[in-house]
């Protein structure tokens, strides 16, 4: 390829930080003898890799103010979500069979809940407010004597809004309901304190913060003890909660990524805030631009924008020099736009017109300037092609038009 598109999809995944990759490599080859199975108790190879795993566990625990003993390694946040939700539901089902979550959760949470519904559990899916946040009144009203679990994500993957998990945690703890938080998009970006936030179960991912793909962790609180039923059975690794030989190099990578995230969180935040403001300033002159999700309670790495009257997929095609993602699902057979944007009450047009920009540690100001230049030109070109834009300019109220459905 002659030149790579500029990467604006850090919410999908991040490149591994070179410092992380370098450390991981040492745990793969014969080299210093660090490739061993951490479960091997009889020789140095095993001891050395066990030490590395323990160190990594401490780094992950430190970032969320947990104890290292509360970290269970998994293959990623999807597995962590499955383990937390199904594991808790299966363990506590005798105390109740009701779960509360929200419509804008990640599919790993929603599909785990759907699965539990088929097993006879009842699930309440809360509608977020128009800014993407969960209303405490609605959450409290949904709580029942048989509610055993509330699962709410910390930061939304599409719109980047930050839920007030501390307030939700307080509410759950007062009702003795377990609280699970999917923190795949928040860890390393904003501070997490599982004690202060009264979180019982917390899902983490490595590849969203410059660690390797295929690696995650679940925080399972010990005091008071939270129990989950294992979903993966075998050699009894991770105190019986998740069997399978530990992937030392992956774990070392996640640990190092989390250590660096702890050290550099403030720098990363300021960097991302500057870039986001630069992008916002750059597109300020374009008409009919809507930001999806609350602007104040939002991670600085995310900007989800709808360019009204321009279809998202064609805009992505026009912006092929930028690696972004769209809320328009025109490529999928369903033709349904983003379920997250629809849950916010966004019109179908706006949902179809959305583009998610997410940036991070390695994005530069020059990257953003190039993006602004491209966006301005391409949006104008596509609007010249758009019958909806023409009608809007003529003053036609599109909601009153009788569309020929197909």
């Amino acid at each position: 390829m002659s030149h790579l598109p500029i990467y604006f999809d850090y919410s999908a995944t991040t490149p591994v930080d070179p410092r992380v990759a370098e450390k991981m490599c040492r745990y793969l080859t014969m080299g210093d003898g660090l490739f061993g199975n951490p479960a091997s108790r009889s020789h140095l190879y095993g001891w050395e890799s066990e030490k590395a795993v323990d160190e990594a566990r401490q780094h992950v625990a430190d970032l969320i103010h947990a104890d290292a003993k509360e970290i269970v390694w998994t293959s990623g946040a999807t597995e962590s979500d499955n383990l937390a939700i199904k594991g808790a539901a299966h363990f506590y089902h005798k105390q109740g069979r009701h779960i509360i979550t929200s419509k804008t959760e990640h599919k790993a949470v929603l599909d785990s809940c759907r699965h539990l519904e088929r097993e006879g559990f009842e699930v309440t899916y809360l509608d977020p407010e128009a800014n993407g946040l969960i209303s405490f009144e609605k959450l409290e009203a949904a709580m029942r004597p048989d509610t055993i679990l509330v699962s709410i994500m910390h930061v939304n993957n599409e719109i980047g809004v930050i839920q007030d998990v501390a307030a939700i945690g307080e509410l759950c703890r007062s009702r003795k309901i377990l609280f699970h938080v999917d923190a795949a998009q928040s860890a390393g970006k904003i501070p997490i304190d599982v004690r202060a936030m009264k979180i019982d179960l917390l899902s983490l991912s490595a590849h969203k913060i410059y660690g390797p793909k295929g690696m995650g962790a679940l925080f399972v609180q010990r005091k008071p003890r939270v129990r989950i039923e294992a979903q993966m059975h075998g050699g009894g690794h991770e105190r019986g909660m998740r069997s399978g030989t530990l992937a030392t190099h992956q774990i070392v990578g996640m640990g190092e990524a989390f250590r660096l995230a702890g050290l550099e969180m403030e720098r990363d935040r300021i960097h991302a805030e500057n870039l986001r403001q630069r992008l916002l300033d750059g597109i300020a002159g374009i008409e009919e631009v809507y930001i999806n999700g609350d602007m104040a309670r939002r991670v600085p790495t995310n900007l989800n924008i709808s360019f009204n009257y321009v279809e998202g997929e064609s805009l992505m095609l026009a912006l092929s020099d930028l690696a972004v993602s769209s809320g328009s699902a025109c490529t999928s057979a369903s033709l349904e736009p983003s379920y997250v944007l629809r849950a916010l009450g966004r019109s179908d047009e706006l949902a179809h017109s959305s583009i998610r920009f997410s940036f991070g540690r390695f994005t530069t100001e020059a990257d953003v300037d190039r993006a602004v230049e491209l966006i301005a030109g391409k949006v104008e070109k596509l609007r010249d092609l758009s019958p909806l834009w023409e009608m809007f300019k003529e003053g036609v109220d599109l909601s009153t038009v009788q569309w020929a459905a197909h």
Binding site: Y309, V310, E311, G312, E313, S314, L317, S328, C330, T331, S332, A333, L335, P337, S347, D348, E349, H352, D384, L385, S386, P387, L388, W389, E390, L398, W403, A404, A405, H406
Partner: protein
């Protein structure tokens, strides 16, 4: 997803973008699709008194395949009689642009747009006859 070279060509250099006067008795307008579905096509044809399409133009809100399908159709209908134009099938459009299965609906929409424009013109003519 990877688009064919023909789709990209129409997408990057769309043919006959624009609009004709909707009220003109020689102009037929077909608008199909809905914003909720992610595509809206407006195809317009200008037809001579002896029923030949002299000119065509379009505007489309939609994905690359939808834009390419409507752009292609404006080229195809020009010079055709209304009858000839009404025989254009969505499968011809899909084949010409090498549309993947998930994008077939774009070609269906383009075929609908032709029909709708022709019907609009015919109903205008009917109305004119009634008034006379």
């Amino acid at each position: 997803m990877a688009y064919s070279d023909k789709v990209m060509d129409h997408y990057e250099n769309p043919r006959n973008v624009g609009n004709f006067d909707k009220e003109d008795s020689h102009v037929g307008t077909g608008m199909v699709g809905a914003p909720a579905c992610g595509d809206v096509m407006r195809l317009q044809i200008k037809v001579s008194d002896d029923g030949v399409i002299e000119d065509a133009c379009f505007k489309t809100y939609g994905c690359g395949s939808a834009i390419a399908s409507s752009s292609l159709v404006t080229e195809w209908v020009k010079g055709k009689t209304l009858e000839e134009a009404s025989t254009i099938k969505n499968s011809d459009i899909a084949e010409e642009l090498a549309l993947p299965p998930v994008k077939i609906h774009c070609s269906v929409l383009a075929e609908d747009a032709i029909r709708s424009a022709i019907n609009d013109l015919k109903s205008k003519k009917e109305k004119v006859k009634e008034e006379h």
